[in-house]
């Protein structure tokens, strides 16, 4: 049987049955910008950063099943402009102060900003008031940087079996909460070794007392842009794409 393929910016991309467009692209070594996608979790389709045009219609590549003959556009001026705008909106919606953030150099949001050439926030900052939760002995929660990707929610529920995190509120009031009567992480059974402690793409869930231990020049995205890290995002095992 011949290999199934679709085209991504004119390049033939092979795929296995059940893979999403995103998974197939990453498997082929082609990077599509993303934030809420993680190779170990079911796709979510919420950050919209991986939006591509499939046969001329916008769609999130992480949730769209690959199919033979699709014509996918990703690296076009129109799509890159929209991705930049999405990043700018994320950057002003929270409090992202890269200069003093310990996730700087390791942060996917920052790395994508560099990758896509976000030179200014463009929009007015919201400056939301989001207190830090430092109640846990080993982990700090800095909600200022949350982008609502739900990776910690998915990891805690699906891998750790703890359901420590959830989203509350609606619309612009939506925010990450901790499932404890007090609302404090220190009153949960969350542990630094939990999968949920490892998946935050930005600087919300942080191991305490580790900040800035890695020198500038040796941080994750210092040597090469995030698009050169495509191997880290390849699917780890065959998994079902499709519905979030």
């Amino acid at each position: 049987m011949s290999e199934q393929t679709f085209t991504l910016d004119g390049q033939e991309i092979p795929f296995a049955t059940g893979q999403s467009v995103m998974q197939a692209a990453l498997s082929a070594g082609v990077f599509i910008p993303h934030l809420c996608y993680h190779p170990e979790f079911r796709p979510h389709g919420s950050c919209k950063l991986c939006t591509v045009k499939i046969n001329g219609r916008p769609a999130t590549s992480c949730t769209t099943p690959a199919a033979a003959g699709l014509e996918v556009e990703s690296d076009t001026q129109e799509i890159l402009d929209k991705r930049r705008t999405l990043l700018q909106m994320l950057l002003v919606e929270g409090n992202h102060f890269c200069p003093s953030c310990e996730k700087s150099g390791h942060c996917k949001l920052q790395a994508l900003g560099y990758e896509l050439g976000v030179m200014t926030p463009h929009f007015n900052h919201f400056y939301p008031d989001r207190p830090v939760d430092a109640s846990h002995p080993d982990v700090l929660l800095d909600f200022n940087r949350c982008i609502l990707c739900e990776l910690c929610i998915r990891a805690s529920a699906e891998v750790d079996g703890k359901n420590v995190f959830a989203l509350a509120g609606r619309g612009i009031g939506k925010h990450l909460i901790v499932n404890a009567e007090s609302g404090k992480l220190g009153d949960t059974d969350f542990a630094l070794t939990d999968k949920a402690a490892q998946v935050c793409p930005v600087g919300v869930i942080l191991a305490k007392r580790q900040g800035f231990a890695v020198p500038i020049g040796q941080r994750r995205f210092d040597a090469a842009p995030i698009s050169a890290h495509v191997d880290e995002f390849r699917p780890v095992a065959p998994q079902a794409g499709g519905k979030p």
Partner: protein, 493 residues
Amino acid sequence: MSFDLETAHHPEQLRRVAIDPVSRVEGHGKVTLLLDEHNRVHQVRLHIVEFRGFEKFIQGRPYWEVPVMVQRLCGICPVSHHLAASKALDMIVGATRLTPTAEKIRRLMHYGQILQSHALHFFHLASPDLLFGFDADVAKRNVVGVVAAHPETAKKGVLLRKYGQEVIRMTAGKRVHGTGSIPGGVNKSLSAEERAALLKDAYQMVAWSREAVALARQLFEQNADVNSAFGRFDAHSMSLVRADGAMDLYHGGLRARDMKGGILFDHFDYSRYWDVIVEDVKPWSYMKFPFLRALGPDTGWYRVGPLARVANCDHIPTPLADKERATFMASPGAAGATLGYHWARMIEMLHAAESIKDLLHDDDLGGSDLVVTGERADRGVGVIEAPRGTLIHHYRVNENDEVTRANLIVSTTHNNQAMNEAIRQVARQHLDGQEITEGLLNHIEVAIRAFDPCLSCATHALGRMPLEVTIVSRDGTPIDRMFRDEHGRCSRA
């Protein structure tokens, strides 16, 4: 209590002249003068009009973020804040003694900072006044004029600063706002290649620093009587000194001398600085007025920085700088002169260059033992001799690792009253009874610049900041107005 010329008795009857902003200093400040109809000076104040709020918004942040965040106070000497905060947090994490590698990397970073900051100030900011004269043509009296008239001097100044920035980059990760120092130590050591790259030019930096000391000395001594008297005032002084009394810009005990040179306190443990230093506030400035507790606010103010340090210590622990110190101390009037700051600053730059050269031969710089921790504490104080003087960082941290309180007493704050005294003295000496001119106003700025004040801002002007001075009669009618445009040209309305 109000000092002479601090507050006029009847300000409503006086006209106001403002120097706003003061140029060729770090940050934003202004000077106001109140004059009567005979141009007699009744009030002189240096106002610091910035409000930064770092002490407040650091509250609630995790302590390990502090050294990186608070250094954003400044773009000129962020290393000083980076290190002072790190030293305070060393106490929080129980690191009572750093590893040799960590301490030497931090010292190297600090000497790089001293070198670049002092070079920046002397060559870029102060030399136009010193080389061309305080009331020289304003179009020439700037760093571009220095480059045109003294290209070799200017070039060496630029390269000295560049070298200091390279030292910082290799130890902190970036030339400005790096992350090298962390609570309990550092996050990197120096590779053999990095050491070799820095060593290649280290001896040249020592040689150029010696030339800079010679230039500063020559500029002072060629008109010693005038330079010694300019803005001169008697003051106590304070700095850190090493256990043997030597100059130590990174660590030591607090030593204060009275205005006659007698010891007020010595080797005082800075972790209880509040036993000897109190901060006063005035309604007309955002900058506080520290004073020595034992002497009170009226007579307890003091000066810090290069002039205080060079005179305060017993010797400098590098031979060339120590020799220059001996010459400086023997020069009549230099050690207490406001303009003596420049000479003392260059002696410190030489000390920094020598220290960098010596450290680069130390194999500990390449060690891998970078961080220590010990018994956790809830309070930490870090003190360092920043380029502009003694810098105090004080933090309280709760059991959740959040900062609950911060107090920063920066170098320029210590010098607040001293700078006000200097400009009042200049006003008495040069402005009182005179028609105000741009050149005379620059005399005020020259006195302020001698202290190399950092008005807590990452921007700095180079003598080209637009300025408007309006003299208003007592009935509110403008009677004289002078402008300085963005090109430094002065005109009268």
